[in-house]
């Protein structure tokens, strides 16, 4: 099915989503564009268990803001919610990356007697009490990420993590023929997603002769990534390839290599338009795992489906094939700016309105 759609050629991601949703109506509930999200368990929710009469109030608790990916995800989520006339109110809260604030946010959402809560826990254990309280209060809870069984939410939608890191790792392994020295640019120290991605990398490298020569935390941030990369490049650390836990850092590092006139080495990226642009313009050799912002809309749709009394699988996972040199042209949007992330669930006019260059 995936290859089917790719045959459509240079269609934009969004229109491809539109086409896809028209052509595939087999499943009862369509959470995202097909191929983006697959069930990971046979276990289903009980039909009608969460059914409520609309209109609903839905709350979402997110750890915090900080980068353009999150902005786009939130934007898509709010757009999806706003365009569902059964959703009377959609309350978005963000905790500024403070676990205690997230607990407070959840408590407040429960106090507001919302019909459903979408939670993206900073640490599953820290919100367990509140999730249980919500469920006890008859509130439907869906989770972004995998709580590994800690949370009793109805449905979990997960993405990225180990698969993200592994995709890059596997590609590097292939590029380097199993030996060499790489640098690892990690994200924010201590963040769960970051640790998982890194574990994915180490798993991929297991049994090879590839060595991690330098390992730095660039906070997924262009500025910091650039400084760190300049530093590593100029301090003469050997490097055959670079693994990145996020695309902004790849962009930064490419800029550094170009700046000092050092020949580029294979670098992994991410499905971000800014990165895809550099990739395209410079004829790089790269790979970009997709960490889709449409996870947000998917969470809203899943929540709505459950409130409508539909049945869903208990958990899903998003693991689309990464963007490669071959498929790059399908994803890159020359007309959009660097802040755009593939793949989006927004309709085309919204995309071009928000992300015009």
């Amino acid at each position: 099915m995936k290859s089917n759609i790719l045959k459509l050629g240079a269609l934009t991601v969004a229109s491809f989503f539109a086409v896809a949703s028209m052509t595939t109506t087999a499943n009862a509930v369509e959470l995202t564009a097909p191929g983006l999200l697959d069930p990971t368990t046979e276990e289903m929710t009980e039909a009608g268990a969460y059914k409520k009469e609309g209109p609903w109030t839905i709350g979402m608790s997110f750890p915090g803001l900080g980068n353009t990916w999150i902005v786009q995800m939130v934007q898509e989520t709010q757009y999806t919610a706003a365009n569902n006339d059964q959703i009377e109110e959609f309350i978005f809260t963000e905790a500024g990356w403070a676990p205690a604030k997230q607990v407070a946010d959840l408590e407040d959402l429960i106090a507001r007697k919302v019909d459903a809560i979408i939670v993206a826990p900073m640490a599953p254990a820290s919100v367990k009490k509140q999730v249980d309280a919500a469920i006890a209060a008859g509130i439907l809870v869906t989770t972004y990420g995998s709580s590994e069984g800690v949370l009793n939410s109805a449905v979990e939608l997960n993405l990225g993590g180990k698969a993200f890191g592994k995709a890059g790792g596997e590609w590097l392994k292939e590029k380097l023929d199993g030996k060499g020295t790489i640098w690892a640019f990690r994200g924010i120290a201590g963040v769960n997603e970051e640790t998982l991605r890194y574990e994915g990398l180490t798993e991929a490298l297991e049994g090879t002769e590839i060595e991690i020569g330098a390992e730095v935390f660039g906070d997924w941030n262009y500025t910091k990534g650039k400084q760190l990369c300049e530093n590593l490049v100029l301090s003469g650390q050997p490097v055959d390839a670079i693994w990145f836990s996020g695309a902004d850092m790849t962009r930064a590092c490419i800029d550094v290599f170009k700046d000092v006139g050092k020949p580029l080495v294979p670098m992994t990226g991410e499905g971000n338009n800014g990165f895809l642009r550099i990739w395209t313009e410079n004829d790089l050799d790269s790979v970009a795992p997709i960490y889709t912002p449409s996870i947000g809309p998917a969470l809203v749709r899943a929540t709505v489906a459950l409130l409508e009394g539909e049945t869903l699988n208990k958990s899903y996972y998003s693991d689309p094939a990464p963007i490669t040199n071959e498929t790059l042209g399908d994803y890159y949007r020359e007309d959009l700016n660097d802040a755009f992330w593939v793949t989006s669930a927004l309709p085309e006019d919204e995309i071009s309105k928000n992300f015009a260059r």
Binding site: L65, G66, N67, T68, V71, Q72, V74, Q75, Q78, A189, A214, E215, V216, F217, N221, Y222, T223, K226, Q227, L228, E230, N231, L232, L234, S235, G236, Q237, D255, D259, V260, G274, N337, D338, A339, F340, N354, F355, A356, R357
Partner: protein, 325 residues
């Protein structure tokens, strides 16, 4: 005393003593930079390549510019914690696309905005006699809060080309940011050194009551100081945004506290100090160099933070206790 010293056998020793006194009287940043360079020479000589040093200079430039404003604030016994907020706002103005203007116009708007923020800070500090810590802290909260609420549905776009050019390109091996830095530091240093304004800044720092009682335009000077500080923050933000190339909401977040550290390391204390404008500039370089050194030593974030904290504490203790003797 000098006459006695001349022909005595202790001459050499007294030369040494006065030399060491001279060194000890220098702002910590000079000594610290020398020590760091020496340490790098033995552990990571690669860091001393001219190319990398120049890149570190470029990395240091935004902090180096912001620190000028912070240092004048501290010299008049005030403080500006709103620098980070101003930078975030500048990033928003330049990259949000909410204002449909060309790059130069946006830059002009940023400068006007800086004037406004500085004047507002100054109003509360001088007219309302509110604590500058609180006022500028509140200002930072307001600016970041407003920017984030405005920006939450709009991913920031690219920086104006002219800024990208300034922030990223170089002339020969010299980054343009270095020239921008110099173009700001040198006039600022000269102005503070030789103008009536600079004298008044020294006077207010040395004794605010006396400055008040002797008819120095205290309120005006403090107002100008805060406006200047916000303007330097704007320049710092322009450079940062140009360097990054795209807007970002966590840009410049550590600028306020880092600038505070750089001012101390640069020999400025509340109400004076010997560092002038160059001491803090050197300190901005020193801090940035230390981040790079620590990274290349493979010390993780924890180690970096600990060493950074320890350096600030030790420098402040040495400097403050010496001043009080």
């Amino acid at each position: 005393m000098t006459v006695m010293a001349k022909n005595s056998p202790a001459t050499a020793r007294s030369h040494l003593a006065s030399a060491s006194r001279f060194v000890l009287n220098l702002p910590f940043a000079y000594v610290g930079t020398a020590l760091l360079l020496l340490f790098a020479y033995f552990t990571r000589p690669m860091l001393l390549s001219p190319l990398l040093l120049l890149l570190i200079v470029r990395q240091a430039a935004p902090l180096g510019i912001a620190v000028i404003g912070q240092s004048i604030c501290m010299r008049v016994l005030s403080l500006d914690l709103s620098i980070g907020g101003v930078v975030v706002a500048v990033s928003y103005i330049l990259t949000s696309g909410a204002l449909p203007f060309s790059g130069p116009v946006l830059i002009a708007i940023c400068i006007l905005f800086g004037l406004l923020v500085g004047a507002t800070n100054a109003f509360f500090i001088t007219r309302m006699r509110a604590s500058s810590v609180i006022v500028t802290l509140a200002m930072a909260m307001i600016l970041t809060g407003v920017v984030i609420s405005l920006g939450q549905f709009h991913a920031p776009g690219d920086a104006p080309e002219v800024l990208k050019f300034i922030g990223q390109k170089r002339l020969g091996i010299f980054p343009i940011a270095l020239f921008v830095w110099l173009a700001v530091v040198i006039p600022a240093a000269l102005f503070l050194r030789f103008s009536v304004f600079g004298r008044y800044v020294d006077a207010i720092g040395a004794n605010p009551n006396a400055a008040w009682a002797s008819g120095i335009p205290y309120v005006r000077v403090v107002t100008i100081v805060h406006i200047l500080s916000s303007l330097f923050a704007v320049f710092s933000g322009l450079l940062l945004v140009g360097f990054v190339g795209v807007g970002s909401m966590d840009i410049g977040g550590d600028l306020a506290l880092n600038s505070l550290a750089a001012v101390i390391l640069g020999g400025i204390t509340f109400g004076g100090g010997k560092g002038g404008v160059l001491g803090p500039a050197m300190a901005a370089f020193m801090l940035t160099f230390s981040f790079n050194l620590l990274t290349s030593l493979g010390l993780g974030e924890p180690g970096k933070l600990m060493i950074q904290g320890a350096i600030i504490a030790v420098a402040a203790m040495i400097y403050a206790s010496r001043r009080n003797k």
